[in-house]
Amino acid sequence: MKIQGSIYRRLMLQLVGGAAVLAAIMFVLFQSFARQLAIESQDTTLLASATSILESVSIQRGEVTADIPYAALAMLGNVSDDRVFYQITQGRAVLTGYEDLPRYAASELPSDPASWTADYRGDQIRLVSVSNSLPFNGVLTPITVTVAQTQDGLAQKLTQISRRAILIGAVFFVVATGLSIWTARSSVRPLNTLAAAVSRRGPEDLRPVSAPVPSEMAPLVASLNAFIARLERSLSRSEEFIVEAAHRVRTPLATVRTQAEITLRRVDREENRVALKKLIRAVDESSRAAGQLLDHAMVAFRTDHMEQTQVDLSAAVAEVIDRQRPVADLRDIAFKRRIAPGCTVFGDSILIHNAVTNILDNAVKYSAPETTVSIEVTQADGVVQVAIRDQGPGFGDADTETLTQRFARGANAGQTVGSGLGLTIAAEVARAHNGRLTLGNNPQEVGACVTLSLPS
């Protein structure tokens, strides 16, 4: 699997990045807006001051004079501690005030009132000019009043506003980041849910995914379901094929065996009898294999559609022992049983029967004549254990894990008839019931020990 990037991380990065960009834009907008407002409010005060000064300009005794109202400058001091400059001009001549103040000639004023920013005495100042015309010696003479102020108060106010803007931006960013995490998590959650649902499935579970998914994931789940269906179809086709094949092989084999046994009774020549016995033995092996293939197919089918009930395992084991007894008696194999009564598990009784039968069958098959197979059923800590021990060759040093795979046979299976499916079936049943099949050798004596553990 090649992993490239992460949806969660990319979502997070884009959302948080977006939030940061938005916060920055908000900060800049807020600040430029605040600056605009602050400058406008300073202009308003300056204009009020300039206008009241302009109104105090009059002509007395043939002279232009100004009686600057106290409030005209005092009001500027009420707003901030900024330095204040003013100038009154008549035409190009400065009547009073700061002579070197930057100015427009009355006729050049860009607008009336005009406000602009300039450098004066080492500081940046904001100037507002208003003009008016007074009749002087029969001619209209232009009077311009300019009032200016440094921008310390403005800068101070802007610093305050900036601090607040930064705080607001930061809070916005933190909230947005929190929301981003939440959004990213909830976007990725259906994916994780699906992945968990699929990975939680048992190996034989090939049902389509039916849990609800968001519309964006519908194509993915649809293709996944189609894939599962294809897989299941192909699997069931091969199972059906095996059942069909086994069935078709078993019936003629039975006929062949019967015919071979009849022929064996008639044949006297030793070499022919040996050949026929070999034939019968081969037929037995084939028919047993076919039978177990059928069993396995049945188990595979039932584990997909289990009919679970309370199963009395003690009774089930006893019943299996009774059924195996004729085969065991033929070879003088004794059963030693220690079965705790009333051990029940929740599961499919046919599957459990099948598993126990296969284990016991194996044990009998690999036991030498006149030996003992012991069966023990115990219940402890919520687990019911069926332990079956024989005195046969055991598993030797073989990897007990591989023995439960299909068609695997132990190294010391020797001449014994077998298909290698018995333990596979038992292991699959155990797995379908959340149980375990443990293979081992008897620690004290010779022989194998197979333990089926099922949760009670």
């Binding site: 009686d67 600057i68 106290y70 400058l73 204040v84 009073t96 005030g97 080492g122």
Partner: protein, 345 residues
């Protein structure tokens, strides 16, 4: 090449003219408080009498041995001229002319300074972290006890007006006030009066009719009241009158009940200071001395330092650009014209 030479000649001529037309700073008194092992010199330009500052400077030198202090006394208008026109080198300016101090700071001659000591000064006493107020001194009426043995002394301006109207002959030539044309402080008090009450012009006119005596300084008015030459002196610095304990039997200090203008002395560090550290230390020392709770450094002003809130008749002259208005050339000319019309009849 002719023009630069010409320009130089014109410049020389201008400088020569300037030199003769504008004599150097007119110093009233100069005292040097030498340190035993001077490491730096602090130059203070002040309108306040040297006597008042002797204990403060000596305490300052005890805390900062090594600093020699040159204390120069001059009038407030001379101080402004020295700094603006002559570019004189001083470190600290102390002045009672709140308007001129404000103008200096407004025009960029002051250096801004902040310290724990400047934080002691109430908000109304600081402007642009440049001007620091350290006294509050009322403009009072000083009257002769002898003249008012039979009469109730006036407690408000209206009282004064009525008294002058009722007995013009008793007070003809026996009223004194500042000549606002020559006294900066007198001009400041008069303009604040004109801003506060309509009665000011009526009163001034009445004083003019009664042959008012014009003075340059509070101390002279106090002495003339004490000697009986005049009966009433209007707009006299109450702090000066209170300081003259020796004259307490002859004069009575009246804070007008309608309102009493309160002037503040202030200090600032000049932007051109060469001893910023020394100047800052001196400002700290001065402000701590003035504003520490229970301080009695400025004996004549201390009772007022924090009392203004509890005495509604006290009216502080606020620092700020409003003070620039009466310094305006046209405004001043108009005010003086009006004042002269009222006084000189």
């Amino acid at each position: 090449m002719r023009y630069p030479v010409l320009a130089q000649l014109v410049l020389c001529a201008a400088l020569t003219l300037w030199g003769t037309a504008a004599p150097a700073l007119e110093i009233e008194a100069e005292t040097v408080f030498a340190a035993t092992q001077p490491t730096s010199e602090l130059q203070i330009l002040s309108t306040t009498d040297t006597d008042v500052f002797v204990p403060i400077i000596e305490a300052f030198q005890r805390a900062n041995p090594g600093v020699s202090v040159r204390y120069v006394e001059a009038s407030s208008s001379q101080i402004s001229r020295a700094i603006v026109v002559e570019n004189a080198r001083f470190d600290v300016v102390i002045s009672s002319a709140m308007d001129l101090q404000t103008q200096l700071a407004n025009d960029g001659y002051a250096r801004q300074y902040q310290s724990p000591a400047t934080a002691l000064v109430p908000e109304w006493g600081v402007w642009r972290d440049s001007i620091f107020v350290f006294t509050q001194e009322p403009a009072t009426m000083v009257v002769s006890r002898a003249a008012f043995e039979q009469l109730p002394p006036p407690t408000t301006r209206l009282d004064l007006i009525e008294l002058l109207r009722a007995q013009p002959d008793a007070f003809r030539g026996r009223i004194g006030t500042y000549d606002v044309r020559s006294s900066g402080l007198g001009y400041l008090f008069a303009t604040q009066d004109s801003r506060t009450t309509e009665a000011y012009w009526r009163m001034t006119e009445l004083m003019g009719q009664l042959d008012v005596q014009l003075y340059c300084c509070s101390s002279e008015m106090i002495e003339d009241v004490a000697s009986g030459r005049i009966a009433i002196a209007y707009n006299v610095l109450g702090s000066y009158a209170a300081a003259r304990q020796d004259l307490a039997d002859q004069v009575m200090i009246i804070e007008p009940a309608d309102y009493t203008t309160v002037m503040s002395r202030s200090a600032m560090i000049l932007a051109t200071t060469r001893n910023a550290q020394g100047a800052e230390r001196f400002i700290d020392h001065l402000l701590v001395t003035a504003w520490s709770p229970g301080s009695t450094a400025f004996a004549y002003s201390n009772p007022l330092l924090n009392a203004a809130e509890t005495r509604p008749n006290l009216r502080r002259i606020p620092l700020g650009p409003g003070l620039l208005v009466f310094l305006d050339r046209l405004k001043r000319r108009q005010f003086l014209t009006e004042w002269e019309n009222a006084i000189v009849q």
